[in-house]
Amino acid sequence: MSFDWLPYLFSFLAPLFSSLVVFLFGKKKFIKESISIIAIILAIFSTSLCWSSLTVSDKNSLSIGQIFYIDGLSLIMQLMVEFVALMVILYSFPYISKTYRHRTEHFHIYYSIIMLSTGFMNLAFILNNIFLLYIALELSSIIAVYLIVFNLNKESLKAGFKYIILINVGILFSLLGIVLLFYIAGEFVMISNIGEVIKSLPRNIALLSAFLFIVGFFTKAGLIPFHLWLPDSYSESPSSVTVFLAGAVTKLGFYGLARTVTGFSFNYDEIKVVVITLSSISMLFGAILAYSQRDIKKIIAYVSISEMGFIASALVLKTYEGIFGGIFHLINHTIMKGVLFFAVGAIIYACGSRKIDEIKTLISKMPPVAVSFFIGSLAVGGMPLFASFLSSIAIFFALNKEGFLLSSIILVFSEFLNVIILLKTAMSIFWQKNEKLENSKFSLPFLMVFCTGCFVICLIIFGIYPEIVYPFIDNATKGIIKIFN
């Protein structure tokens, strides 16, 4: 029996194993950080190895028995989660040791949970059986609640409760959808055969299952009207965890959408209309709700909901351009949220508050943070030279091409609203006449500036040289189209 495929599995084995080691021995100095970083590097190496095998193969996918199915989408999601996890671990090192000093005894559990969640996510991205995918996806979401309630104050506990109960109940709808598919198909539904199963379904059953999947994965992604958990969870968790939630955990919802609902939209136009309508509501109301917030993290959370509407609407389009734009925006969304939430983390680190009115009086000069926040805000607005410009414009044209003119107008309008609210916030914080802001300078730990800088660099490089990421996105798009066409 050949074990050539074993290195491919390190993408989830390394984080899972390291999680156990960190949990058991992580109390000693630097063990938790070093083990976590080594495990993530191993996972990135494993994903890269898999990528090189995939590009050599002419089938656009790799199958390991009936258990694993790896295509471009799996690998792009894995790389994204690994990168986010690496940045979060590096950022957490100085951030939580100051801001959450009262929880020093539990830092090793914090790192262990990040690794465990990363491991389950990476496992979910390559599993072929939809039941198993659901189990890995749900486990990774459930355990992330520990990170949300890490502060253990009243607000964070409430946010954690809301997160776990809403996510669990919502995601049970998608389990019901899976059960229905299994019952009709009479066999296990796999990622590799889901396209054929969907085509063979009676119309009513197909629409019902698609509805169940939409409820489940929209809740997971945090789109309106299933978003109730998201603003509180984002604002009450540590900023490093917020990046993990926005950049990795919510992306599982989109992965689920791309693996199931996209297939239904290929065969039934009603599904496409429903998803695009709900996404347009998310785009518009996310931006509108952001206006009334006084908590800087909640503003970004609502802006994030608005942007996630772009991704969801693009993923159900039948065209190559639509899905390509959706996946590209998925990556950009992760990077933009990384920039913004890390910058906010630095502000909280310096001022100890999330409320804009309090920050205004407490803030000192922090040029790297100010620049990063402005860049992140402009990128959210889809300004030229940033990667989000290309992805937004791709989604705009794809929506137009398929006759969703109103949605494309809402997209542009909500982008405009988003950039206005973020720039207004940035200006009120960094461009105000404050004696403290003019005279005193706050120096941030190197790792915090470095991690924010990494995301900023990605945002600019992918905007100027998008050719770097095109092959990955192209492969992922072809992977999705191959399954459903």
Partner: protein, 214 residues
């Protein structure tokens, strides 16, 4: 079997609508025990030995472990439910409507469209719908966990009735997920109760000191 299904629905009604949380949680024990009985009977009648294992697992997890964990959530708090968003008499009436008419309609749907599924299907789907109704109408954290429990039991029943030969591994993994979720939920409830108690004590102390100053 029909009697057992109606009894399961009756106990879920008690769990959902009782004002005393302790009574609600205790109602989940006969509810879960009857589920165990049904799973065992389905396994016996349809010659699926794997379901015996699932019945034992259900007995341990759903009938014993879960109520014990939920009772722990009552620590440091009043045993009366926080006022729900729908008034109590109306909620009772709605529950009866959802459970009786819902069950009746699901039975008709089942016999006309999917007659081959096992009879527990109607009970499972009714539990799912009823659990969801409770979830959106209740504001008490423990009641929300109870409604999640009922939804989960409904899904469990649906899986057994639609896919009775589901591999044990998947059933066990789903149950594991369920345990982890309930563990976290109960942990959060206990911690929140502690915080509320601390706040009350603080308020009491403050008002006492103000009174003594006056």
């Amino acid at each position: 079997m029909e009697i057992i299904y109606i009894a399961i629905l009756f106990f879920s009604f008690l769990a959902g609508e009782a004002k005393s949380l302790r009574f609600s949680i205790l109602s989940l024990i006969p509810h879960s025990l009857l589920i165990v009985v049904v799973v065992f009977i389905i396994g016996y009648v349809n010659h699926i030995p794997a379901l015996y294992f699932i019945a034992v697992l259900d007995l341990v997890v759903r009938a014993i472990l879960m109520p014990v964990l939920l009772l722990k959530g009552l620590k440091n708090r009043l045993e009366a439910e926080i006022k729900p968003s729908i008034s109590h008499p109306l909620s009772i009436a709605l529950s009866i409507v959802v459970l009786s008419i819902g069950y009746h309609f699901v039975e008709i749907f089942k016999s006309s469209y999917i007659p081959h599924v096992i009879s527990s299907f109607s009970c499972g789907l009714t539990l799912f719908v009823y659990g969801f109704y409770l979830f959106i109408s209740k504001r008490d954290m423990l009641k929300m966990i109870i409604s999640f429990f009922i939804i989960e039991n409904g899904i469990h029943f649906l899986i057994i009735s639609m896919i009775p030969k589901m591999p044990k591994f998947i059933e066990v993994s789903l149950t594991l997920n369920f345990i982890v979720a309930i563990l976290f939920l109960v942990y959060l409830t206990i911690r929140l109760n502690e915080v509320f108690v601390r706040e009350e004590i603080k308020k009491l102390k403050e008002s006492n000191s103000q009174r003594s100053q006056l």
